[in-house]
């Protein structure tokens, strides 16, 4: 398991996550008190993570931008109802996931995929090095093909299975947090995760070596 994944899993159960939630709640209280500009802090903090979740659910950049914006707007409009019973980021994720799922259900037939460029930082470059020994144009073509296959395989999953594997494997949330966001039990989350991984293994067997 690579470092980023370990870090993500550690964050879930660590006290740092609690401190983060407390800090978020302080900002939320400022917004609730009328300091609208304080909401920008929350936007900047979570926009990339939210983008990652929504993008991996939709596989479309433009739709993702709209959905993330809508999620922030909804959160802003409902900020007075946030009582701090859960962490702000869980609450925000819930809004974003529900907005995305609603969008996906409405537009089942309209699927336009777009690919973001893979940022070759340390973890991804390590994996890419393991995947291929190609260089130059061949490598770029291989990566593009891999991205497309990944997208296709994810889109073949049902919305719920896709959401679970996105939140767990890509965004690094815990089973409990996913269960809270999706309003189901942890057992259901584990079951969906297991099924989704098996399905992806079958679909992406060519790249697993």
């Amino acid at each position: 398991m690579n470092l980023s994944k370990v870090f993500a899993k550690t964050l879930v159960t660590s006290p740092e996550r609690q401190q983060e939630a407390d800090a978020d709640f302080t900002i939320v209280k400022r917004v609730q008190a009328g300091d609208v500009a304080a909401f920008d802090l929350l936007i900047r903090k979570y926009r990339e993570r939210l983008f990652g979740v929504v993008y991996n659910l939709t596989s479309n950049r433009d739709d993702t931008a709209d959905l993330v914006q809508d999620a922030f707007i909804k959160a802003f409009q409902s900020i007075n109802r946030f009582q701090g019973q859960s962490s702000f980021f869980t609450w925000l994720y819930k809004i974003a996931v529900n907005t995305t799922l609603s969008h996906l259900r409405k537009n089942k037939l309209r699927t336009f995929f777009s690919l973001e460029k893979i940022q070759e930082d340390e973890p991804s470059s390590e994996i890419l090095a393991q995947l291929t020994d190609k260089t130059g144009a061949d490598r770029d073509a291989y990566l593009r093909e891999l991205q497309e296959k990944l997208n296709e395989a994810l889109q073949k999953l049902s919305i719920k299975h896709r959401t679970v594997i996105t939140l767990f494997e890509i965004d690094g949330l815990s089973h409990g947090e996913i269960a809270e966001i999706m309003e189901c039990s942890e057992g259901t989350v584990r079951s969906r995760l297991h099924y989704a991984k098996q399905f992806l293994q079958g679909e992406l067997g060519k790249y697993l070596r």
Partner: protein, 270 residues
């Protein structure tokens, strides 16, 4: 050992890590921020219609006690109105079916007509007191059968479940045989003064309905019917005279307040 053997196996999790690395360029975020700012301002200015705010209101937990209260209130109201209406309807139906339409009628309010009965069953059972002007003595036996079995139409088995109506009718018929004048006075004017205590009329049908509601009235009427309104022969002459005079008095039927019930005993105030 070759280079390929040195590589560890690539898993699904590793491939999904690549998805994490898919991130938009910085220009995307500047555009994103501008668009978000515009939407945020629009959301601040925009007045949301009430039907869009309704789901938010319903999603609040306040609707739970409201819903529970509404359900309880509806249940109480329906239970409260269901049973008396049914019993009144069955009583009225029993009397109206047994009474001929051409029977002599004393007062307008005493007219035992199906439409009145239906109106009484629907709760529209009150007529103005001015309409109850006595015209002629009542022949109650023509309207009310002496036997309780005749009250029950075969098509309405639920009537048999209201013994109060049958007992009242039987008691009144028996009372009429013994004391026709008293019955006339009771039906003509006596019950008209009881509006302070119970919303009744002198209507025989309504009386049966009211008696079905009030077991106390039922008992009083039953015991009145059984009682022979003749003075006790062992009483002194003065007392017997007074009793006879009072029993013939119009004020005897002047009100149910004269009738008292204590346990199994009935008392009349003179």
């Amino acid at each position: 050992m070759t280079q390929s053997n040195q590589r560890r196996k690539v898993t699904v999790e590793d491939l999904l890590q690549l998805k994490r690395a898919e991130r938009p360029d910085p220009e995307f975020w500047s555009k994103f921020e501008v668009e978000l700012r515009q939407k945020q301002l629009a959301a601040l200015v925009e007045q949301r219609p009430w039907w869009q705010q309704l789901p938010q209101f319903l999603s609040r937990r306040a609707y739970l006690p409201l819903g529970a209260t509404a359900v309880i209130a509806f249940t109480l109201v329906s239970v409260r109105h269901y049973q008396p209406e049914q019993s009144m309807a069955s009583d009225v139906e029993a009397l109206s079916t047994s009474a001929p339409l051409s029977a002599p009628v004393v007062t307008r309010s005493e007219t035992v007509a199906p439409q009145n009965a239906a109106g009484a069953a629907q709760g529209h059972d009150e007529l103005p007191l001015d309409d109850r002007t006595p015209v002629a003595p009542v022949q109650l036996s023509e309207r009310l059968p002496a036997r309780t079995g005749e009250l029950v139409p075969w098509s309405a088995p639920q009537v048999t479940e209201t013994p109060s109506a049958r007992s009242i009718a039987a008691n009144l018929a028996r009372l009429e045989e013994n004391e026709p004048e008293l019955v006339n006075q009771l039906l003509a004017g006596g019950l008209g003064h009881t509006s302070q205590t119970v919303q009744t009329s002198s209507h025989a049908v309504e009386m049966a309905a009211v008696s079905a509601l009030s077991s106390r009235h039922n008992r009083v009427l039953a015991q009145l019917a059984e009682r022979q309104f003749t003075p006790d022969p062992s009483a002194p002459e003065v007392v017997r005279e007074r009793l006879t005079r009072r029993l013939g008095d119009m004020e005897l039927a002047g009100g149910w307040t004269r009738v008292g019930v204590k346990g199994d005993r009935v008392s009349l105030k003179f």
